[in-house]
Amino acid sequence: MARIGVFVCHCGENIAATVDCEKVAKACAQLPGVAYSIDYKYMCSDPGQNLIREAIKEKNLTGVVVAACSPRMHEPTFRRACAEAGLNPYLCEMANIREHCSWVHPKSEETTLKAIDIVKTIIAKVRKNQPLYPIKVPVTKTALVIGGGIAGIQAALDIANAGHRVILVEKEPSIGGHMAQLSETFPTLDCSQCILTPRMVEVAQHPSITLYTYAEVESLTGFIGNFVARIRKKAKSIDEKLCTGCGECVNACPIKKIPSEFNMGLGTRPAIYIPFPQAVPNKPVIDRSRCTYFRTGKCRFCESKCPTKAIRFDQNDEVINVQVGAVVVATGFTVLESTFFPEYGYGQYKDVVTGLQFERILSASGPTLGEVRRPSDGAIPKKVVFITCAGSRDPAKGIEYCSKICCMYTAKHAMLYKHKVHDGQAYVFYMDIRATGKGYDEFVRRAIEEDHVKYIRGRVSRVYERNGKIVVCGADTLLGAEPVEIEADMVVLATAGVANPGAEELAQALHISYDRHRFFTEAHPKLRPVETNTAGIFLAGACQSPKDIPESVGQASATASKVVALFSRDELTREPIVAVVNRCAPPLYSTCVGCFMCQTACPYSAIEREELRTRDGTLVKTVARVNPGLCQGCGTCVAFCRSKSIDLQGYSNEQMYAEVVELFAE
């Protein structure tokens, strides 16, 4: 017979004001299996916890029910108290008579009766509770960082500097990401590359960081502390050990007119190329889709010029499996292209560029070597219109959210333009100015007050070309929405920041969730901002939502601290709230029929196939097994199981039925 102790908390007035706690305690004392029942003003206080500890010892309790607040608040408190008194903590449960009862009902007899009902159901459950023991999992102390932009770089360095190994995977030929493309950074106007490249070099030189560029993660299996990642290292077509990065091959390549990805299509590159001068690693790759040799079987000019004979046309992609304990996803974002905007000309006007293209125009390493020249004819634009919220905050275009970074970089663009073209005029069409970072609003004010950028509050309806000018039709909503028409030489669209094209596939490969805009989802928007719903996988940077550099770096360091915390132990302890497929004596072994419906249902890929064999090794049957390291205890498999062979520890079917039956029993 169970010996259960019931402890009813008043929570000061929170519960006692509407529920007669003494009556609840007395009513529960009468229930079968209840050996002790008492009410107290603050059960979570030290004296309150002592009541529980002492009762366990004195009354020899086999189970504890604390009728108080939500288990989200104090379950750990009371379970710890029980453990201290020698009771298995999983024999202690909470009955929520505060959020579910006292807070939502007036003081009345019925309220007290409801509280009693709630406690009764939990007592019924505790009668069926079994002692459970935390699960121990070993930890592989190597982190996989996916994406070599500033967030990935920062996370990799922080983890490596804490003494752990890091594998950094970047899909482009060089690390650096979007930050390497930027001219100068707000609000301090320091050169983006100048502050980034030391970090890039540090990554390359760090003894604990293994860098794979031109590589992609294809799949991820395993669970927290014990992942296996499959990485495809695309063939660079060069022998990196022999290559000195001299660039002879790049000069030799006869294909010169490929739009440069790094310059956002404003410049060109050859088929064998190093994306930008400060690239890390500073060694070329052959773009096989453009290379004449790979297309026609002839050319090999680069090979003939290479002084170290490093060109390898016969190189194959290499697929490797690596074992890692944690994964940091830092794959970044991209911006909409101007072709997305019907009313701004579907990208058909050369002098209507995106913000990222304008960064390249401003950048000293860009196609114009830092001089502001417009793409169509290379003329210096005397009138530039900047249009913010191009695509952002536009539900009609499917993007409701604010891209967050555009207000600031547009102010920066206008300011840098004015610094470079003194007699030029800059106009910014805006809806709201969102400058909420440190020194941000001051920066925008500086653009307006010191650099005389004309800010016009209104959205631009249309942009079209007329006689070599770009006509911008807007309105000034602060002047009665009077239409404003500006004949500009160039237009810069602050196009919305959007998820990368491959984001969905990557999320599916990693088993992490993503929102309808294909940004990866954090576990909790406030309290778990860098964790995903999959244990051991963390987020950093703009793959979660558009972010500026300080925020990406901050988030990357936060993620790194999570990873380092995970790596601080040799074993992981996890709550034993996991599903279990039953096992029983031969000849049945398990009631599982091996249909594996659970496998398709499991969102965490936690269901494995287990071959049950007799002692002499003959196969009896193949049944499901839940990997406790992966299982998140959601219970989906339990609902799917046709033969009722799976149960969720701590929330077994028997326990649930007992609760429901108790509720309806008179």
Binding site: E343, Y346, Q348
Partner: protein, 286 residues
């Protein structure tokens, strides 16, 4: 190919050359038309300005009649009529309240079996590459195609692909040898029904259209809407008065330029009915 036809009021009066040219090119392109019997006015821009249900009732009467005649595809050359009929069709098929009210009040029933097509939808089907090869003449002019509003907007009615830069008319005129130029006023409003009440505004809006067309080097403006035509053609003197400039660029219905390529005479295509001389086109196209 057989189509139902709803000409609409303008095509019988102020824009009769549009209908005349359509009827003239039809046999050469293998087009046959069956007119909606006893058709009434669609209500144009006035009915919906005053009462919504009424603005649906007028085209609904036409649609009901078309359905009775079992016209599967109904071509509506006038862009304004097209818009009113297409909006009515959507209202009748998607808005149960309006449908029931019209049924109760006027015993109008329409089940939605009649497709409503613009003139461009029809021409794009019949002017195939084969037809284009056999044309007796080619209309080798630099032109701008002017869609105005109602052929493209509202997009949920017209289902046009590139609402700010449609290409349907361009594709058609290319097949008869014309060179459509990119320009900036393709889908801007001409002032529509303000022709009589706000002539100055029409002059201003049309001035921008003509200006841009001339600026791009166009020799003709191609239209598929009687309102656009009469505002750009009949109101030319007002436009010139408002802008203080002279414009000689002729405005042609798409059916007229196709007629040229098919070898029809200017008289057959109603060219004499224009206010702005079409001599520059006629003299060099013959």
């Amino acid at each position: 190919m057989k189509f139902g036809l709803y000409p609409g009021c303008s095509l019988e009066a102020s824009s009769r050359e549009y209908l005349e040219s359509l009827r003239a090119i039809a046999p050469k392109l293998g087009l046959e038309f069956e007119e909606v019997k006893n058709w009434n006015c669609c209500g144009a821009s006035s009915a919906h300005a005053i009462d919504h249900l009424f603005s649906v009732a007028l085209p609904a009467t036409i649609l009901a009649q078309a359905e009775q005649q079992q016209l599967k595809d109904l071509v509506v050359p006038c862009a304004a009529c097209y818009s009113r009929l297409a909006i009515a069709k959507i209202e009748l098929t998607e808005n149960a309240k309006v449908r029931n009210e019209l049924q109760a009040k006027y015993h109008l029933s329409y089940t939605g079996t009649t497709n409503i097509l613009t003139i461009l939808d029809v021409l794009e089907r019949v002017i195939t590459p084969e037809v284009s090869k056999q044309l007796p003449k080619r209309f080798t002019k630099n032109v701008v195609c002017y869609y105005g509003c109602l052929l493209v907007r509202p997009q949920r009615i017209t289902n046009v692909q590139r609402v700010e830069d449609p290409q349907q008319m361009e594709e058609i005129v290319k097949t008869i040898g014309a060179h459509p130029l990119p320009w900036g006023m393709k889908t801007e409003c001409c002032g529509a029904s303000f022709s009589i009440t706000r002539t100055e505004l029409v002059g201003k809006l049309c001035g921008r259209v003509l200006d841009d067309a001339v600026c791009r080097g166009a020799e003709a403006i191609i239209v598929a809407c009687p309102m656009c035509h009469s505002n750009l053609d009949m109101r030319r003197s007002v436009i010139e008065h408002v802008t203080g400039k002279k414009y000689t660029i002729p405005v042609l219905f798409i059916t007229q330029v196709i007629g040229f390529a098919l070898g029809l005479t200017p008289a057959q295509l109603g060219m004499t009915r224009h206010f702005v001389s079409t001599e520059s086109i006629v003299s060099t196209s013959v």
